[in-house]
Amino acid sequence: MEYILIIISAIFVNNILLSQFMGICPFLGVSNKLSTAVGMSGAVCFVITLATLVTYLFQYYVLVPLGIEFMQTIAFILIIAALVQMVEIVLKKVSPALYQALGIFLPLITTNCAVLGVALMVVTNEFSYGGEPHMLNLGESVVFAFATSLGFGLAMILFAGLREQIALNKVPKVFKGIPIALVTASILAMAFMGFSGLV
């Protein structure tokens, strides 16, 4: 039951893009075309889940026993950077087709704040789903990370579809590009607000 609540909450209620504002750079940057948005979402999904798993283990088996939790930021960003490099190399060898699809997005992900954001969130914040507020355990963390990245993908793909339609319409000159995209995102965020109170 709690896993279902985590999933619904992470995808709809606390959508990482539209209510937490993490990962806005790729959200605005690569959402011009639906196909690139799908590719980016796939790559982000993969990296967020993997990065959260590794950083969670690193936090509780290395940083906490040694008493150096303040090294969190430096350690996590290095782990994420290394992980992205590794995923790139492994993918190139194991599945060239998938590498072709995700390849160009992977280097961009290191500086996507959603990845570091989720990794830090699960080890610093307490979550409450109906019951007592508590730190997430390993299984919950991974499910939370995966659901969050699904939420990222959902918002990204919806937004790219909207932007493809807007590109065909007449837009006042000063609104061209980013401003009209932001207005669209605002309306999309308003729609997602309808989910608040669900969990």
Partner: protein
Amino acid sequence: MGKFQLITKGLVKENPTFVLLLGMCPTLATTTSAINGMSMGLATLFVLVLSNMAISATAPYIPDKVRIPAYIVIIAAFVTILQFIMQAFTPDIYKTLGLFIPLIVVNCIVLGRAEAFANKNSVVDSACDGIGIGLGFTIALTILGLVRELLGSGSAFGYKFIDGDGILVFVLAPGAFMALAYLIVLFKKLTAKKDE
């Protein structure tokens, strides 16, 4: 380019928020009030100036191939220092800004300035560039925070002068996107007139 111009170009011509459109995550997330926006801007300014100086000083010794990871480590070190300082002296602001303080590490403005300016200019010039861009970011965040606070809760810098609640949606997520969109449009209009 003089030192003074290095500082002023970050304010209008190369304003990181309204012109370059960088660092959007903290811009949208932390500007629920003018004070919050300003604190976030100043925190970024601190990291930006110090990391610009450190990167400019060490750039000749860093091999080209590993420069990006090296820059990230330098930036992360300064962010950790900032976290300590804020925890000690401004614990309330540290708590409000929360996750977005460690997330300065992945702010594109900081890494962007390291790559585009600091690694090929002198330490003093890099510091000036950091101050300029940082101030531009701080001013932009303060304006955005002020607009959202005025419309959303009828107050400015915490001083309430309109009774009642205001338009609550401007403090929430959709208002952030909307306010930023209209501020960018306004900025474009104003600067376009200056050029003519």
